[in-house]
Symmetry: C2
Subunit: 387 residues, 2 copies
């Protein structure tokens, strides 16, 4: 495979975007990415788009055609990929592979979800589709319930505390307050988290990522072509994807997500780096416990010490390994299919030193970590400055 | 890109499979493909699966994890792709690209749809999701209605007759009667087609492909590795994908599907062949008029002569260019996401001269043509014997 670089990034505001349609959301993000790359639509060879469930949220499938059409990019091929909340990560990976293979030179990898057009009960019904419908959702298990089980077990096994989990949300809101695209741009406290309405004990509302609308896009090109467009190409040096069991009850442990471990091992090996080489990471914090487990499964600390490193401020901007500088899913928002791409947008922004008040100093290598469901799919990418 | 070969093919019976679950359908097809290839699951690097709308049909997304899990192939990555009825074609294309890129050596490309678990009205609602929900389905346009518009215009512009359209169904049922996996294994007559209940004038029930359950799978490997497993590898020499407008009313013409034209031009160029070099083709006959238009758009005859070549038996087994020897979507069945892969299974079977009573003599080069919706996505692949 030839080297692949990111030459443009774009993102919409995340939030309850009732005045923006599904199709407009994608075009908005894509146009920003093209503008950032300094190229026109006629230079795009292909598009990949991550979307979990437009079929259920807005009763529209065939998203690829819709997007190529509405963006005025016909006849460029546009392929939708889906892996629940990891759909965006997979879109990035497929775009990376297609440019690496040489079948395309310049490709847009986008992600999009429009979740707020349904009533809450209906949305919860849709979210059951990312767990195992027959063995989990059908018997009444909710998605927060699955992560609550993981949290309880992690607390029991490793002594992780409610306060440590709450601090993940506090940190991510602190970062999100500095991100103009974040759904919630305000700080919160540990007390706020602990006293917010319970969702699935021990998790509260403020332990949970929100329901969001949003779109994000990255422009990928072969490293040779990238030089024509930018002085600061960001090279994708590692890409790993792995499957885990769809159902939580089929796992050997509730406190580890094997798909994260497998995907990161592949990505680290491809990039020739180790966890300690990573300068900044966007990880999948759909719930606060998920970030704690991710920091362990990605190798940023020993197993069981995820609560400790958040307590000791190691994952803050300025800490040893800053995590979710964008605000993460928790504060930036979590439009399912867009999340994996939005993570890439943040890492590219950090590597280009364009993150403003949330900029991490001396960033050379970044990582994104995107999870589908309770861990049925894991995707990890590693990015390095190409200049 | 390195050369990519198909080393195994498997398919389930297509039909109303009320006793088989979604997850079992895929595993059934995949196991047959692995058996055909003579390899075990632990040799699989990755899977791609085409599925249009498990989210709406059975309320299950995250299909990739479900399939890798149920097939016992964890942690192999499994990526779901979707482009309405062209989902299977895209799964084949992404698998082809990933092996060509060298990121995977052996990959399963599968397709699956479980459509018969809903009531007819509900199914029709789901099918509205492959047209443009806001501009077509919302105002009452049905999917057969879109193809009926194309049929009427084709009849008006080129003098295509009802009898010519009916003869497409008659030919495909004649072929399907020879295919043990086909949903309808019985012959019909032109009178049967013309006198069957109307769906959307001029199309009748027997002009239309059925609602089906089914799965299909192909095993792909790099050409070098393929030699270790088979003496008759089938090389994928061409792959083309293109987008068209999602809505029919946005097209310049109702009698051509530009996505077919674009995708086939790319595939022919990659393979270095011309339409007259193709010995056998599986084309997307979701309605009889669709096969007539496809034969024209793929270059098997001049524009407007698609009705004539079916009337003159040129597309029969033994004719100049045998089309849909499997029975096509019309007789074999049309489980949406499985169709593009099932087309590949038939072409591989023909190229390996294993098609029994429906074998075409002297087959060297085959083609598959898969369409999403009314033409929003087109995918064309070309296959050649590698021995």
């Amino acid at each position: 495979m030839r080297d692949v670089a990111i030459i443009g990034a774009g993102i919409t505001k995340f939030g309850e975007l009732w005045n923006t349609s599904f199709r407009d959301l994608f075009v908005d993000a894509g146009a920003r990415a093209l503008e950032d790359a300094g190229l026109g639509g006629d230079e795009i060879d292909a598009l990949y788009v991550g979307n979990m469930s437009a079929g259920q949220f807005i009763r529209q499938e065939h998203i690829g055609s819709l997007i190529a059409d509405h963006a005025g990019l016909i006849p460029a091929p546009c392929t939708r990929v889906e892996a629940a909340c990891a759909s965006g990560g997979l879109a990035l990976r497929e775009a990376f592979i297609s440019v690496g293979a040489g079948i395309n030179d310049i490709v847009v990898a986008g992600g999009i979800e429009k979740m707020t057009d349904l009533l809450t009960d209906q949305t919860n019904g849709v979210l059951g589709a990312l767990a195992d419908r027959e063995w989990e959702a059908f018997v009444g298990t909710t998605y927060p319930g699955l992560y609550a089980l993981m949290a309880r077990r992690h607390m029991h096994k490793y002594g992780t505390t409610r306060e440590q989990m709450a601090k993940v949300a506090v940190k991510n809101h602190k970062n999100g307050a500095l991100n103009p695209y974040a759904q919630y741009q305000r700080e919160i406290t540990v007390d706020h988290v602990l006293n917010s309405p319970p969702v699935a004990d021990p998790l509260t509302t403020l332990d949970s990522s929100p329901i969001s609308d949003g779109g994000a896009a990255l422009v990928l090109a072969s490293a040779d072509i990238a030089k024509e467009y930018t002085d600061t190409p960001i090279i994708i040096t590692g890409s790993g994807q792995a499957s885990g069991t769809l159902s939580l009850h089929d796992r050997k442990s509730l406190t580890e997500i094997p798909a994260t471990v497998h995907a990161s091992e592949i990505a680290y090996k491809m990039a020739g780096v180790k966890p300690e080489d990573i300068d900044v990471a966007e990880v999948h914090d759909c719930f606060t416990i998920a970030e704690i487990m991710a920091t362990e499964d990605l190798g940023f600390c020993e197993k069981g010490e995820g609560g400790k490193i958040i307590e000791e401020n190691e994952t803050e901007i300025g800490g040893k390994i800053p995590i979710n500088t964008s605000g993460g899913l928790k504060s930036k928002g979590h439009p399912l299919g867009a999340t994996g791409i939005a993570q890439g947008v943040e890492i590219v922004t950090q590597l280009k030193e364009e993150a403003g008040k949330r900029q991490v100093d001396g960033v050379e290598i970044g990582l994104t970590h995107n999870i589908g469901g309770s861990g049925g799919t894991g995707v990890v990418h590693i990015f390095e400055r190409g200049d």
